[in-house]
């Protein structure tokens, strides 16, 4: 039997794609807006599409557009990209135990496609107690559905330009918030987890005005420290 036709692998792959469905909805308006804003910000249509295909990082892409439009230099944009994407290092460190045994030809694409959304659904899958040896196919399913969705909506935005259907006013972004909420709330059953979440929420709110997702990094680190501290107490 060939690799891809193995029914269990295929099952995991499609489950990963299916579980990412709400995030496809949530990401659609952002992809579309990115595509429409590209040309007015000084990025060519080909450049916008290339950015979605090769950089594939929504927040960083939006910030790059803003900086381009304000005439910021290359070095500053690259440094900002690094800071905005730092949270992905935290995600990959968290997922590492689950992918460490995979070959490089798996780890390279799975790293390239690692986003907030894919991290959320994939770590949820890895924590389920079954011992399926094909959970990386689930990861791949989430990646490919998110990636093709992102490129498709960028392309749509680029092609339609300013005459877009008012997708951004439909409230589809809530789908992402709902998915993250549905994944995170059942984790709150232990005291340290709840403490970590509350601490992270407080810092995220206090620091929401900080640029470049720094508030998010700060909140994540605070939450982690609070969780560990609460764990140590009898």
């Amino acid at each position: 039997m060939t690799q891809a036709s193995h029914p269990q692998r295929r099952g995991e792959f499609w489950a990963g794609a299916r579980d990412s469905l709400p995030m496809l909805l949530g990401a659609a308006p952002f992809g579309l807006i990115f595509g429409t804003l590209a040309t007015p910000s000084g990025l060519s249509p080909a450049g916008a599409l290339a950015m979605s295909m090769f950089v594939y990082a929504g927040s960083a892409q939006f910030i790059a557009l803003t900086l381009l439009a304000s005439g910021t230099g290359l070095a500053v944009i690259l440094l900002t990209t690094f800071v905005v994407n730092l949270r992905h290092a935290l995600y990959s460190a968290t997922l590492l135990p689950h992918v460490a045994g995979l070959r490089q030809r798996w780890r390279i694409p799975l790293a390239f496609w690692l986003t907030d959304e894919t991290f959320a659904v994939v770590q949820h899958r890895y924590l389920e107690h079954d011992t399926s040896p094909f959970k990386h196919w689930y990861y791949l399913g989430s990646c490919l559905s998110m990636y093709s969705n992102w490129i498709l909506w960028t392309l749509t935005g680029v092609l339609l330009g300013r005459s877009v259907p008012r997708l951004e006013h439909l409230g589809l972004e809530f789908a992402m918030a709902a998915t993250f909420t549905g994944i995170v709330v059942p984790m709150f059953r232990s005291r340290p987890m709840l403490g970590a979440a509350l601490g992270a929420a407080a810092v995220a709110l206090a620091a929401h005005a900080l640029p470049y997702k720094l508030g998010l990094m700060l909140a994540a680190l605070t939450g982690v420290v609070i969780g560990v501290l609460l764990e140590d107490r009898p």
Binding site: H88, A111, V184, H208
Partner: protein
């Protein structure tokens, strides 16, 4: 596409990929100390909460909306309640989105 644009995209691609790949590259050659392993268990709860809470309480990015007239808040509360009570992710997302869109529709 101009040369400067290529440079920008190539640079952003390299930086983004390296940040995502750095740990994956090490594979089994790295084992985090027990302390770090314990700490990493809190990353999902901390990060997901830190992303969602500001989205829900400050839907426009700057103004607090702690009121029943905020569909984001009502929808997220319903999602959370279903997820907590039934531990069924799709039901939680579906229920939350239904309530969210009902709220938007009722508030005009």
């Amino acid at each position: 596409m101009s040369g400067r644009e290529w440079l920008l995209i190539a640079g952003m691609t390299a930086i983004t990929f390296l940040v995502r790949y750095a740990f994956f590259a090490l594979g089994e050659r790295i084992a985090f100390p027990p302390m770090v392993q314990r700490a990493l268990r809190y990353v999902p709860a901390a990060v997901l909460t830190a992303i969602v809470v500001p989205m829900v309480l400050l839907p426009d990015g700057s103004h607090w909306q702690i009121t029943w007239r905020n569909p984001w808040l009502v929808g997220a509360l319903v999602t959370g309640l279903i997820a907590w009570r039934f531990q069924h992710l799709l039901a939680a997302i579906g229920g939350g989105m239904t309530v969210y869109f009902l709220c938007r529709w009722m508030l005009g």
